[in-house]
Amino acid sequence: MLRYALNRLALSLPTLLLVSAAVFLLIRLVPGDPVVLMLGDQADPQQIADMRAAMGLDRSIFVQYGLWLLHALGGDLGRSTTNDLPVLPLVLSRFQVTATIVFAAVAIAALIAIPIGTIAAWKQNTKADFAIVSGATLLLSIPSFWLGLLMLLLFGLKLGWVPVVGYVSFSENAFQAALYIVLPVVTLTLIEIGILTRMARAAAIDVLRLEFVAHARAKGLREGKVLRRHVLPNAFAPTLTLIGIVLGNLLGGVAVIETVFTLPGLGRLLVDGIYARDYPVVQGCMLFIATIYVVVNLLVDLAYPLFDPRVTAA
């Protein structure tokens, strides 16, 4: 198991290298540069050249990449060109915000979606199933940022139940923190419920067809018990894989939600970094997101046999 994990990690290294090189190149291909942005419309050529030299941007791109990679291997992702903060701690602190929201939303969504999806599968092709599937489809069809905006308008501005902007970390004031993230979490949860319900339903339908379910039924177990004992736990395994994918996608892609609710998260950091041509921040964010993606997928793969009867049986 450990060997498998290490092996998988080793295999992902070329992927990460490829990602980092592509990001490095791509962000430099984008017109506009950090120095010009910093100096604005008053920049004179000499000043620009001086500052570029000071930031090491005047060297060849290979030298720049080599140096960056060398430092990155030592855990130093450089410093932001906009505010001179070290990138790694910056990325980590922003990631906390994103992770809080994403994990909370996915956890709540999974808790709601898996039972509902299983019930739909069990009642397959009945009115209840149809209602659940339609509801889920409707939910996942709503663009997250639009839903977020509508929620903000309704609960934040019209009703005034929750603060509309800002963020307080949990370590500081748990109650305040919860108030600030409730809307983004609810928004994400609603949409993830749509996605996960459908996934859980499909997984449960597969399980329901397996022999041991038929066997359990044949033994005379009541349907409720079959569902609880056999279907639900087993449908969890494939759903877990999908949760893994969802998590990976979300961690990289909540920039829109973070923009709507002005949360200082990782996605926002990346988008702002792109706009400000903050090369070290963009590179750091991308490397981090890619790493997370790889790690989450690995964890899911490792956890899979623990839950899936078919895999352990083999």
Binding site: I27, K127, L140, I142
Partner: protein, 273 residues
């Protein structure tokens, strides 16, 4: 157990998607007003008999822009999916058929692309190509191609061992011919199902990117950039954000329902037949 006529999926989905396509097609030849015509004296007018869906922040007719936006959004999403399917199928076919180191190398690149957030890809490409809808088509096409490649490769790997492929080889048909004639057609079903979902993703992604300011550049309307532009007026001019938002949601709903119906018909693993 009472069976629900699952054709309802296809029917409702078809109607919604059909409506969008119709709107898109109509906008090519006719819109109530010129969707780009600015009338600064008519800013932010609420819906009225003159302007059925009101006017936007520079006095353009929202209904006309919604219609023209349907055209842009459908075209961008359609072309992006087409690009993804062409590129992904080619890669998946090659990887699945040649196997060995080619497969490993291609899938390595594939995984790298999968770990690459679309936002940066989009911005990077749009900057290099120049801000245009082609940038976003290419960006989304590249972003979705790896998923297609995976599915096609999986299908190829399972199909190539089937009897009829063996049979084709045994009667002396070349590898290329076998691949073209027997393997490729059999990957069609999962790809069609996937392409349908991707069409939905592309519409969503285009609107999300436009919302972040990285999408199809204005003044050409898309639902996404209309929504982004409407944001400051959310309270004072609700119609501006309701119309495009609803359009995106309904189209996506249609695409998803249609996707379900297609899956039921085409996917061999389908559970609802």
């Amino acid at each position: 157990m009472a069976r629900i006529p699952l054709k309802a999926n296809a029917l409702i989905g078809g109607l919604l998607v059909g409506g969008t396509l119709l709107m898109a097609a109509t906008s090519v030849v006719w819109t109530p007003r010129n969707p780009l015509a600015v009338a600064l004296r008519q800013r932010l007018k609420p819906p009225s008999p003159d302007f059925w869906l009101g006017t936007d922040e520079v006095g353009r007719d929202v209904l006309s822009r919604i219609m023209a936006g349907a055209g842009t959004s459908v075209m961008v999403a359609g072309l992006a999916v087409l690009a993804a399917v062409l590129l992904g199928s080619t890669l998946g076919l090659i990887a699945g058929f040649l196997r060995g180191w080619v497969d490993r190398a291609l899938m390595g690149i594939n995984d790298a692309l999968l770990a690459f957030p679309g936002i940066l890809l989009a911005l990077g490409l749009m900057a290099v190509i120049g801000a245009s809808q082609w940038g976003i088509v290419l960006a989304l096409g590249l972003a979705y191609a790896p998923t297609v490649a995976r599915v096609v490769r999986g299908a190829v790997l399972s199909i190539r061992e089937r009897e009829f492929v063996e049979a084709s080889r045994s009667i002396g048909n070349g590898e290329g011919y076998t691949m073209w004639r027997h393997v490729l057609p059999n990957t069609a079903s999962p790809v069609i199902v996937l392409a349908t979902s991707m069409f939905g993703w592309a519409i969503l992604a285009e609107s999300a990117l436009s919302f972040l300011g990285l999408g199809v550049p204005p003044p050409a309307p898309t639902w996404g950039n209309m929504l982004a532009a409407a944001r400051p007026y959310m309270e004072s001019a609700v119609w501006l954000s309701l119309a495009p938002g609803l359009c995106i949601a309904l189209t996506l709903l249609g695409v998803n329902l249609l996707g379900d119906a297609l899956r039921d018909r085409l996917d061999p693993r389908s559970t609802e037949r």
